[in-house]
Amino acid sequence: MGFVVTLWNTAMYETMFMDECPEGPAPGNTEIWESTISPEQRRSYPERLITQLRHVNYRGPNGEDVCEQPTVVTDPPLKIVEGKYSYGIDLDGNTDGGATPKSCAHRTFTGLNGETGVDNQMYRLLGCVEAWRSYGHIENNANSHRRTSGLGMILLEISGVDDIRNDDEVSVTFYRGLGSFNLDSKNNVLPFGSYDIDAEDGAPRYNDTVGGRIEDGILKTHTADVHIPHYGNYQYIRQLIQDMQLHMDITPDDGRTGGMVYGYYGVDQLYSYVRGMLTSFPNRHKFSCPAIYVAAHELADGHPDPQTGECTTLSSAFKFEAVRAFINHPKGDELASGGTGPARVAASGP
């Protein structure tokens, strides 16, 4: 059976009055720049041009682009999440946040259902940066671009299913889709569409498979490193999620479902995405590249570098929505199992 992902967000636990960010939202690039110049200088710039000014980004001592070279300036430390609760799971198997062979010491959260030892340093890092919050531009822009363009489309194929409600051993493969979404008149993705796998010479460009099980209709994968395609803010990322686990309900009546992806996300992978955004973004959408860069390294809690001991990944949780879909395999791709092949398919569902 197949699914196509229709919405993908960094899972953020947001309260109405932003209690999780006691110091308020993190300041943006312009605010930081303004604090470094005199009021006279400030007045010399026309208001409407401020967000357009390239040199706001080029505020390094020698005119360097501070997103390209985040260490040339020292911005005020990033305001990070101080709240108690978060989405996520205990990824390192240690509830008190102390260092383990696979993690650096970090503060843990309590899960929304009271679970202890929830690891989500990605949330701690970005939860107070308004551009990443649910009303911010970054993720909404990425989702809306994906919705209209079909770029970075994530296809999930679950094979080896004997019993859709309870099955000890199934496997899940992640593909990138090709083409556009099938949308209804309100721009919602319709379930039960047929989607093609993006492939080159018959070989899917994305093809990572992970085992898993189904418990009472909920699919839970084993832990594995997988590549999941991503597109947003004009960039493709061949997104690697380490020690990934996926949880989702696969038995929705109307073909619409959702779930969570947990795992470690590389600091370099994240920063490469931040750096690659349009020059105007840090000003327009209020974030500081140097502050994020520094904080990301400080907060990294996974995959210690064997040489330096410094951690290189951030524990993370992603929330996604998906609809049932039929997955068309490229000609010659025999790797897939289950339900594909000739167009003769039962009308009861994918």
Binding site: N182, G193, S194, F326, N328, A343, A347, S348, G349
Partner: protein
């Protein structure tokens, strides 16, 4: 029209008739003799108008405009078109379309193919060019050569216009417009001539025969070869007629003709105003509606033309065609790229069999936001079986149907409660047991197993044949004798404008032949197209002409 072998009241034919009947009876019964009716006139339907313009001027010409729909008569718009006229509002539309088509014909690059001379900005009036354009286009549009007078009057107006407006092109524009608003174009008028085989009788002239043939088989005007056959008298011989019918039935245009007939018989014009609530049925949008109609037409064309299969199997076939848009509504996998059709076959276990279980039928005969066993049952009775279903009484009380507190969760339960009233029960008995078998398909035709949480019971019956679900309804429909009688009646009415009564010997003959030839629509079509009955005419009743001609115009 009577051809050489045919039976006729004429002297020579009367002598030969017993002989030819004898010769034929060895293999098959002879066609019964029918008495003719006066020739008819028929307004071009929208499809015919569009086909003609495409065929005469090329498919690049855009026909933008609104057409009045004829009143459906004997179940067919094509029969209604024989009573259709041109109202003042639609005349404005025809005038606008004519001018727009003329402009397109005279614009680049079309003019290079369609205008018989090279147009230059300040050229003088070129009488040869103007005459030829009118003669050539006129012959196709009027389906016969124009008379000298028809050409001359037009060329005169064209010359005057070119002079007044300063451009030759303006004259050509006007000439083309004058053809396209002319009654000879907008109405298919038939003419009779003395029948040489039967002195004192008349027959359709060759051009009228050609038009009957081409609108029947192709739903468009005769092509050059057919007009030539009309011109040289070939259509008045059995061989000539048969060879034209054979040629025309081998043409890809036959598909256009077959589509037009079935779209008319199955009332697909209703698709123009089909509405589905996009909140309740998000997958059934405009694109799905278009594809649903096309799917059924493709299924029919493939079945009756390509496979030349038994008509009755259309109600049990699992073979169809699919697009990604439709696949989403049917919830099936489609490998063909977007917008491309792929052959598709529903699985043996799937209750969807026959065109009556395709979206086109199911969605068309439902409400915008829910299914309707009654509408579906009624449509099967009226369009597939040619039976009458009375309308509900004016003060029908249906409150039980919509009571939110009602214990009746499924349509069956609600209809049962409703039908306890004897006034309603009579009609619902003839529709609902058919439609209820299709209840596992919702108002958009999507599969479902429950309604309001209650499992749907799809048992039903058709004229004494009981079935458990839609897969049983198909065979019941297939084996219902009314299904083939209905087709024969409609196809003959489509061809001739006349609805045969069940007791008509011609009806019995056509039905018998249809059965003997394996219920193949192509054979039936060929038989009708080459029959004597189709062309039998009497002289028009022109007696009242004087009064009509002098009656004052209404203003």
């Amino acid at each position: 029209m009577k051809r050489h072998k045919s039976l006729h009241r004429g002297f020579l034919s009367a002598l030969l008739a017993p002989l030819s009947a004898l010769l034929l009876s060895a293999c098959e019964p002879a066609e019964p003799v029918v008495s003719g009716t006066p020739p008819d006139i028929s307004r071009l339907t929208e499809d015919q108008y569009r086909n003609v313009i495409g065929d005469v001027f090329g498919s690049a010409i855009v026909v933008g405009g609104r057409f009045d729909t004829p009143v459906r008569t004997h179940g067919l718009l094509a029969v209604g078109a024989r009573n259709a006229t041109v109202t003042s509002g639609s005349m404005r539309q025809y005038d606008e379309m004519a001018r727009s088509i003329a402009s397109q014909v005279l614009s680049e690059p079309n003019r290079r193919f369609l205008v018989p001379c090279a147009l230059k900005p300040d050229m003088a009036f070129d009488e040869t060019c103007a005459t030829q354009l009118i003669t050539d286009a006129g012959r196709l549009l009027f389906r016969r050569p124009l008379t000298d007078e028809e050409i001359k009057s037009r060329v005169t107006v064209m010359r005057d216009t070119a002079k007044a407006l300063g451009h030759f092109e303006d004259g050509l524009h006007l000439g083309l417009t004058s053809l396209l608003v002319a009654p000879q174009f907008l109405f298919v008028t038939e003419s009779v001539e003395p029948d040489p085989a039967a002195p004192g009788s008349v027959r359709l002239d060759g051009y009228s025969v050609a038009s009957r043939l081409s609108f029947l088989l192709w739903n468009t005007v005769p092509d050059d070869a057919l007009l030539t056959a009309a011109e040289n008298g070939a259509l008045h011989t059995q061989d000539g007629l048969t060879s034209q019918v054979t040629r025309m039935m081998a043409s890809p245009r036959l598909e256009t003709g077959v589509r037009a007939f079935f779209a008319d018989m199955y009332e697909f014009d209703a698709f123009d105003f089909l509405e589905k609530d996009t909140v309740i049925y998000p997958a059934f949008g405009v694109a799905a509606a278009q594809d649903a109609q096309e799917q059924t037409l493709r299924t029919i064309v493939d079945h009756v033309i390509n496979l030349d299969a038994d008509y009755r199997d259309l109600f049990t076939t699992r073979k169809t065609f699919m697009t990604r848009t439709l696949g989403q509504v049917y919830r099936v996998q489609v490998e063909a790229p977007k917008g491309v059709w792929q052959p598709f076959e529903f699985e043996e276990t799937d209750p969807r069999v026959g065109i009556q279980s395709q979206l086109g039928f199911l969605a068309l005969h439902s409400h915008p936001g829910r299914s309707s066993p009654t509408l579906r049952g009624k449509a099967i009775r009226t369009t597939l079986l040619c039976q009458q279903v009375p309308d509900p009484p004016p003060d029908v009380d249906f409150t039980e149907f919509n009571d939110p507190n009602s214990p009746n969760k499924t349509a069956r339960q609600r209809l049962t409660a409703h039908s306890t009233s004897p006034a309603c029960a009579g009609c619902h008995r003839i529709t609902d047991p058919i439609g209820l078998a299709l209840e596992t398909f919702d108002g958009a035709g999507q599969s479902r197993s429950a309604e309001n949480g209650e499992v749907i019971d799809t048992s039903g019956s058709l004229d004494g044949i009981a079935f458990d679900d839609a897969s049983g309804l198909g065979p019941a429909l297939r084996d219902n004798p009314a299904a083939t009688t209905c087709l024969v009646n409609r196809l003959y009415a489509y061809a001739s404008g006349k609805s045969l009564s069940p007791r008509d010997p011609l009806m019995a003959y056509l039905e018998e032949r249809f059965a003997a030839e394996g219920f193949r629509v192509k054979e039936l079509l060929k038989r009708i197209a080459t029959s004597d009955a189709l062309y039998a005419v009497t002289a028009p009743d022109t007696a009242a002409l004087e009064t009509a001609a002098v009656s004052p115009a209404p203003f």
